[in-house]
């Protein structure tokens, strides 16, 4: 309860701040709310835009880094029809929710050149065939491995789960290391990990399958849960993985205590940075899959949308084009390591010089998929989290969890 009060107070404070500053001059004020950018690249770009556009003043409003806090703050603003914020940066899983609520507007026809963007991020800004936001930067699950240990053992980077498990047994076990760490706590990250396991066994939770062929969906879920349980049962993954979020699992890997890690691209710079015990020893690969299947990475990242309640939509859209343009993306990639959503930036010499590892990511980005896109996503996410976590803690059987999950998801999709 205290947290809720705190959130509410912060919202009030934020609103009053915005309200005050807009009175200052005769310029048109555009407020752009997004998660804080520690590199300062975003603010530099905003300053640059302001310098080139007299009569318009864009203000960057840094939001709390925590995704859920940001979500709840935006829901509070928008359901109160707050007009002081013009542009919102939205997590890829919020598009449908915000579009259905009528809080963000459809982009004008031809506003962006869709063929220039990566497929996964582009799909994430689409709701019922209409574009509601511009992809800003992206994220996708990748497998980190210990290059040195695999080479020493003469083992190639595993592509199938069978080879993967063997590598864990042969390399990690004798060393007393953990084989594979990932995100198993009950939170949004578990959904991302679970879906990757699900896709890697050939399963799917897309609407058509869940509604029309529930038995197929159930079979995939059961198999994916079995795969996850096999990591725990065999000791490849420590029991504590069920309490880990990104940073818990990352720490074990960069401490040199785990052979494989599933995580987001940000880990690369941590692994190569100060304080890492595995500097120069890590490699990146797509996640393994079951023989005969393909692996896919869950898409993360952020998009920018125009608020329905904006009083200056034209000016806001002009700035939106600038901040999601190629130059901005390059700048943010070079200064902050943010992964661009425009295809061609991955071939840009300056970007690659600053981020040599982007070249390895491009392979991973060939196969990405989105989490279910639905205005009911928060509920669907909780259903997945709950059923997966309860299975992994041996509360329920995989088959029971699969049946419950698919049935509950189908009920929501039918709404």
């Amino acid at each position: 309860m205290r947290t809720m009060t705190a959130v509410a107070l912060c919202c009030l404070a934020a609103m009053s701040l915005v309200g005050c500053s807009s009175q200052e001059s005769g310029d048109i004020q555009i407020v752009f709310a997004a998660g804080n950018d520690p590199s300062g690249a975003t603010e530099a770009l905003v300053d640059e835009y302001n310098a080139a556009h007299p009569g318009v003043r864009v203000e960057f409003q840094a939001m709390p880094a925590n995704t859920d806090t940001q979500h709840d703050a935006y829901v509070t603003y928008l359901s109160a029809r707050e007009s002081s914020i013009d542009l919102y940066s939205l997590d890829v899983i919020w598009t449908a929710e915000f579009a259905r609520a009528g809080w963000i507007v459809a982009l004008p026809e031809g506003y962006i050149r869709t063929d220039e963007f990566l497929d996964g991020p582009l799909a994430s800004v689409t709701y019922k065939g209409t574009l509601y936001a511009v992809p800003w930067f992206t994220d996708a699950g990748v497998l980190y491995y210990r290059k040195d240990l695999l080479e020493e053992a003469g083992v190639p980077v595993p592509e199938t789960w069978t080879d993967f498990r063997r590598a864990c047994r042969e390399i990690a076990e004798p060393r007393g290391m953990d084989g594979f760490v990932w995100q198993g706590a009950r939170y949004e990250g578990l959904v991302c990990d679970f879906l990757e396991f699900l896709w890697s066994v050939g399963g799917t939770l897309d609407e058509a399958t869940v509604v029309e062929r529930p038995a197929d969906a159930e079979r995939g879920v059961t198999e994916a849960l079995g795969l996850m349980l096999s990591f725990l049962d065999s000791g490849i993954s420590p029991a504590g993985v069920l309490t880990y979020k990104e940073e818990d699992s990352r720490r074990l890997f960069t401490e040199g205590r785990a052979l494989f890690l599933r995580n987001w691209p940000y880990v690369w710079s941590v692994a190569e940075g100060e304080g890492s015990k595995i500097k120069g020893l890590a490699g990146i690969a797509p996640l393994p899959h079951v023989e005969g299947q393909t692996s896919y990475s869950t898409i993360g990242g952020w998009n920018i949308a125009l608020s329905t309640y904006s009083e200056h939509p034209d000016e806001a859209l002009d700035f939106l084009r600038f901040i999601t343009g190629e130059r901005s993306m390059k700048e943010r990639a070079i200064e902050g390591g943010y992964l661009p959503t425009l295809r061609r930036t991955y071939e840009d010499a300056d970007v690659l010089a600053a981020n040599p590892h982007f070249a390895s990511f491009s392979e991973v980005f060939q196969n990405t998929r989105n989490r279910p896109r639905s205005p009911h996503y928060p509920r669907m996410s909780d259903i997945i989290q709950e059923n997966v976590h309860r299975t992994l803690t041996y509360e329920i059987e995989p088959a029971t969890a699969a049946a419950d999950m698919v049935r509950e998801l189908a009920e929501i999709m039918a709404e």
């Binding site: 829901v75 259905r100 609520a101 706590a185 029991a239 074990l252 909780d382």
Partner: protein, 291 residues
């Protein structure tokens, strides 16, 4: 000043406080009651309408609600019980301390003074199975084979309760210490003259005279524990059978934006806490004939 004038003065003197109570207390509670009879989701605002008793019907058949009520009750009973016993012991010890009392009192207050979120984050690091301090100490003492997953399925609730006990025992101790200080010394002197033993003194003098303070501590702690949110949110996110009603309500209200059903549950929680407090007050007889 005649009676009428006095009444008028009293009204105006009370008015500011009353306004606060109405605006900040009664109004939100009443609007919550009103919302609990509506179908209203922030994200589907166009489907808003009167729902009659359907939210309450949903509540009755909502397994998660009753399950979380169970978790909440268990958490409350065990943590408040432990806090009371430990807090009383700490207060009795502190009451005897003659030197360095200020230092002891203030060191005791540290956990209570920490913001809950900070304390919870600290505990989640301490309790990490691989790199947490708790396990590494146990390992060094040779008391542990396999690493203990403190926040895992088996121990999650216990760990959460221990963190809460660590954090709020000082609050109970301070209230009880104030109570101990208020007991006049002559009772003890008289008991000593009569040759009463320590246990008899404790049972017949200390405990009865401390009762109102115990009642206040238990009342405050029960109300707080029943609404616990932040500690569990940070430590487990409600996983492994640690989800409390507040966390569930938060999910429904803020994540799902379902103001209608969320308000219904809030009303239920309000009623439960209200009845519980009334029961406790009666049981402890804080009001009225205390002495």
């Amino acid at each position: 000043m005649n009676a009428r004038q006095r009444a008028r003065l009293a009204f105006w003197l009370l008015a500011p406080a009353l306004t606060f109570v109405v605006v900040l207390g009664a109004f939100p509670v009443l609007s919550q009651f009103a919302l609990s009879f509506t179908k209203f989701n922030l994200k589907f605002a166009d489907e808003r309408g009167f729902a009659g008793l359907s939210n309450f019907a949903q509540l009755v058949s909502d397994g998660v609600f009753w399950q979380d009520l169970g978790h909440t009750a268990y958490f409350t009973v065990v943590s408040v019980g432990l806090e009371l016993v430990l807090g009383l012991a700490a207060a009795l010890v502190l009451n005897r301390v003659l030197r360095g009392r200020t230092a002891m009192n203030s060191s005791l207050m540290v956990p209570w003074a920490l913001p809950t979120v900070v304390a919870a984050t600290m505990w989640s690091l301490l309790l990490n199975d691989r790199i947490g301090l708790v396990n590494s100490v146990l390992e060094r003492l040779g008391l542990m084979g396999e690493p203990i997953v403190w926040l895992g399925p088996r121990l999650a609730m216990t760990s959460v309760i221990l963190a809460d006990v660590w954090k709020t025992t000082p609050f109970v101790a301070i209230i009880l210490l104030a109570g101990l200080k208020s007991i006049p010394n002559q009772y003890y002197e008289a008991a000593a003259l009569d040759g009463a033993g320590r246990w008899a003194v404790f049972r017949s003098i200390t405990l009865p005279l401390l009762k109102p303070f115990i009642a206040i501590a238990v009342l405050f702690r029960t109300m707080d524990a029943f609404r616990v949110f932040d500690l569990i949110w940070v430590l487990t996110g409600g996983a492994s059978r640690t989800e409390t009603l507040s966390i569930y309500i938060y999910r429904v209200l803020f994540r799902y934006g379902d103001l209608g059903y969320g308000s219904t549950m809030t009303v239920a929680l309000f009623v439960i806490v209200f009845v519980l407090s009334l029961g406790l007050i009666r049981f402890m007889r804080i009001s009225g004939e205390t002495r």
